[in-house]
Structures are given as structure tokens and as C-alpha cells.
Amino acid sequence: MQFDISIVVAALPALLQGARLTVLITIAGLTGGVLVGLLFGLMRAYGNALCQKIAFAYVEFVRGTPIVVQVMFIYFALPMLLNVRVDALTAAIVSIVINSGAYIAEIVRGSFLSVPRGLKEAGLALGMPAWRVLAFVVGPVAIRRMTPALGNQFIVSLKDTSLFIVIGVGELTRQGQEIMASNFRAVEIWTAVAVLYLCMIGTLTYCLRRMERRMRIL
């Protein structure tokens, strides 16, 4: 069997459209995931007993179930339970928000708690309120410490979008699958899909590396 590049060229517009949707879901999902992760991570690290329990339950629930089950639940089960309509793209984005949020919460908790206690005391000793110490003393150090793990999670989440093939979102993997189903050129199509994922993740890695170089990890 021969690799026919014209197959790839013909499929490229549709694949790029899929890649665009993949990027969109990833960016929207991770933006929400970072916010949710910060909230629940800080709740677990510094919250009262109730906050800690809620955050713990959320993290355990998400980590204890596969993301495919989560998105199926959001797309098929939730509309029946709440009597609302959820379109596939929204379900995909919400899944990434909820799923990455739980993992990011653990990253946030770990990095905030890894900052030496002396820094917090130094901030408090200046007479700052506790929340300001968290935001301006501990936070900047913690954020630097979380970048490697956060980068890892960003990559995992980007790849997780391929699982949304199960709810019919036209992201990159789904586009590839559809083209393949009509022309049966598995080698060309899946090679092209793989290369497109590599390009997206390569760009992400490059950005993360540049960011890390600009702000030394402390």
C-alpha cells in the first residue's frame, strides 16, 4: 500500500476545521478549568472543614470516573434529569471544565502548600491581612511552582477532546473518523490527524517553555 499525499490534501480543509474546534474546546474548557481548579484547590488548602469536604468530594468524584462517562452523563443524562437541552459543543466544553478543574485543584493545592511557611509569616509580620498574603506573597511563588504540572494537564486535556467523538462533536478525531468512513484511507487520514495533534501540542509546549523561562521557578 502506498501513501497518497493527495488524499491528505483533499481531507485537509475538513481536518483543519476539526482542529479549530479542538482548539476552541480546549481553550474554553481550560480557562474554566483553571478558575474552577483555583477555587477548589484553595478551598481544599485553606478552607474550613465544610469547604474542604466539598472540594474533596468534587475531586474524588471526577478522578473516580472516566471522562467519557462524564461527558455522556452531561450530554445524555443531565438533559433528562433537569429537562434542559445541552448541545454537544457545550457538553464538550463543560466536560473539560469539570474534568480538568478537579486535576488542576490538586495541582493548585499542592503548589500553594509547598511554599515555605516562612514566607507567609513574613507577609503576616508586615501587618498584611491573610488574603493579601495569599494573593501577593504565597500566590506568585505558588503559580511559578504549578507551571510544569499545569502544562502537563493542558496537554492531557487537549488530547481528551478526542474522546468527544462519542457525542458527535466535530473535533479533529471525529472529522478524521468521518472522512475515513467514506474513503477508507486509514493510513493517510490517521497520519494526518496524528501530525495535526503533534503540531497543536508542540505549539502548546513551546509556549509553556517560553513562559517558564521568563518567570524563574522559585
Binding site: 514566607l119 509569616e121 513574613a122 509580620a125 508586615l126 501587618g127 498584611m128 491581612p129 493579601r132
Partner: protein, 247 residues
């Protein structure tokens, strides 16, 4: 307010426990403005805890503790006022690693005194010059020696314009040759009339700079008096033993 009775710090039967261990046992102590009190004692005697109670980094479990006319029990807002009047210098320096020396010193006045960036940096430059680090303003903590870091930390505490300075073993993490540069800065501060409470094992400093020496053991003040007198003629066996171990 503090001058009404002349006391900058007043311990009234202060008790502090960690779990089931009593670290301070009904401590009574009054420190007047301008005093340089040197706290010594074996490890676990409660000297660091006593110091950390003054700016409420440790909460007292019994009695009362008045700093510059404010009780440490008066709630978070009042505690922040106390902390702004009582600068603290730590054994491990605890400089903010993401900031330069200048930014470390300018940080406090901007955060708690509402100073503008320009004013705070001018003040920081002045204080860093005073501690002999005019050339190092743009260095990060990781680019400074331990002695330099500790001098930045002293400047950082001074930048909030405190009335009282607390030193928790400020030279214990330093090599002998670096200790002197920190001790010289502390001596200069004492000569300007700053009220100071210093936990240390530097007996030469206690003798030369201290106006008062307190020996603690088992969470209580065992001996309290003039440094030279106590060091030359320790009034009890326990202090005599302790001094032998230190020197």
C-alpha cells in the same frame, strides 16, 4: 499610647501551649521603649515562642499581652496594627524570592502604609543604603549571601516604620564571618534608640549592645538583669551551666 505607662510590651501571666506541652507558663514581663532585651536559654525554653507571641504569630492561650497599648487578643484588625508596629526578622530570612532586594523592602510600605511606588522605592533605597547594600538593590535573594539577605530582611522590616523590632535568632543560619555584618547593623539600630527584643546565642552582642539580659528555662523567666553583670557573675547554677555550653 505606649508612653502612658512607658511600656512598649507587657506580658501579663501569659500562657502558651502546643498541644499538651506548656511552652510559656504564666510569664510576666515588661519591656520599656528604647530597651534592647536579649533573650537566651536552652532550646525548647520558650524564648522564640515568647518573641513570636509579641506580634501574634503565635496566639496566647492565657493571660494578656499588650503591645504599644494594644492587646494581642483584640481581634485581627488590631493584631495587624501591632504587626505594623513590631517589625520581625527571622532566622531563615524569608525574603520574597520573586522580588528584588529593592522590591522586597518597598513591598511592606506599599501594602500596609498605602505608599506610592515611587515613595516606597525611594525609602527602600535609603534603607538598603543604610544596611550597606546600595549596590545590591536589583539582586534577587538567590543572588545574595546569607548575610546580605538578612540585612535586606532587616531593611524590609524597618520600611514599615515600626516602633519595635523583633529578632528571632537572626544570625543562627549564618557563617561566622557573615554574622558580624548583621550584628553591626543591629548595633547601629540599637544606638539609634530602637526598642529591640533579640533571641540569640551571641553573648558578645548581648554584653555590648543589650541593655537587659533574660535567661529562660522551661517556659519561665529564670534570670532578668543587666547583661555584663549576669554574664560575669551568673546568679544561679543553671545560667552558669548554660553559659559554659554556649561559650
Amino acid at each position: 499610647m505606649s508612653t502612658m505607662n512607658g511600656h512598649m510590651v507587657q506580658f501579663k501571666k501569659v500562657t502558651k501551649r502546643f498541644g499538651t506541652t506548656t511552652v510559656l507558663e504564666g510569664v510576666d514581663l515588661e519591656i520599656g521603649a528604647g530597651e534592647v532585651v536579649v533573650l537566651i536559654g536552652p532550646s525548647g525554653s520558650g524564648k522564640s515562642t515568647l518573641l513570636r507571641c509579641i506580634n501574634a504569630l503565635e496566639q496566647i492561650d492565657g493571660g494578656d499581652l499588650i503591645v504599644d497599648g494594644i492587646s494581642v487578643l483584640a481581634g485581627p484588625k488590631k493584631v495587624r496594627e501591632i504587626r505594623q508596629e513590631a517589625g520581625m526578622v527571622f532566622q531563615q530570612f524569608n525574603l520574597f524570592p520573586q522580588l528584588t532586594a529593592l522590591e522586597n523592602v518597598a513591598f511592606g510600605p506599599r501594602q500596609v502604609r498605602g505608599m506610592t511606588k515611587a515613595d516606597a522605592e525611594a525609602l527602600a533605597r535609603e534603607l538598603l543604603t543604610k544596611v550597606g547594600l546600595a549596590e545590591r538593590v536589583n539582586h534577587y535573594a538567590s543572588e545574595l549571601s546569607g548575610g546580605q539577605q538578612q540585612r535586606v530582611a532587616i531593611a524590609r522590616a524597618l520600611a514599615v516604620r515600626p516602633k519595635l523590632m523583633l529578632f528571632d535568632e537572626p544570625t543562627s543560619a549564618l557563617d561566622p564571618e557573615l554574622r558580624q555584618e548583621v550584628l553591626r547593623v543591629m548595633q547601629a539600630l540599637a544606638e539609634e534608640g530602637m526598642t529591640m527584643v533579640v533571641v540569640t546565642h551571641e553573648m558578645a552582642f548581648a554584653r555590648k549592645v543589650g541593655t537587659r539580659l533574660i535567661f529562660m528555662e522551661h517556659g519561665q523567666i529564670e534570670v532578668d538583669g543587666a547583661p555584663a553583670e549576669l554574664l560575669d557573675n551568673p546568679p544561679n547554677q543553671r545560667l552558669r551551666d548554660f553559659l559554659q555550653h554556649v561559650e
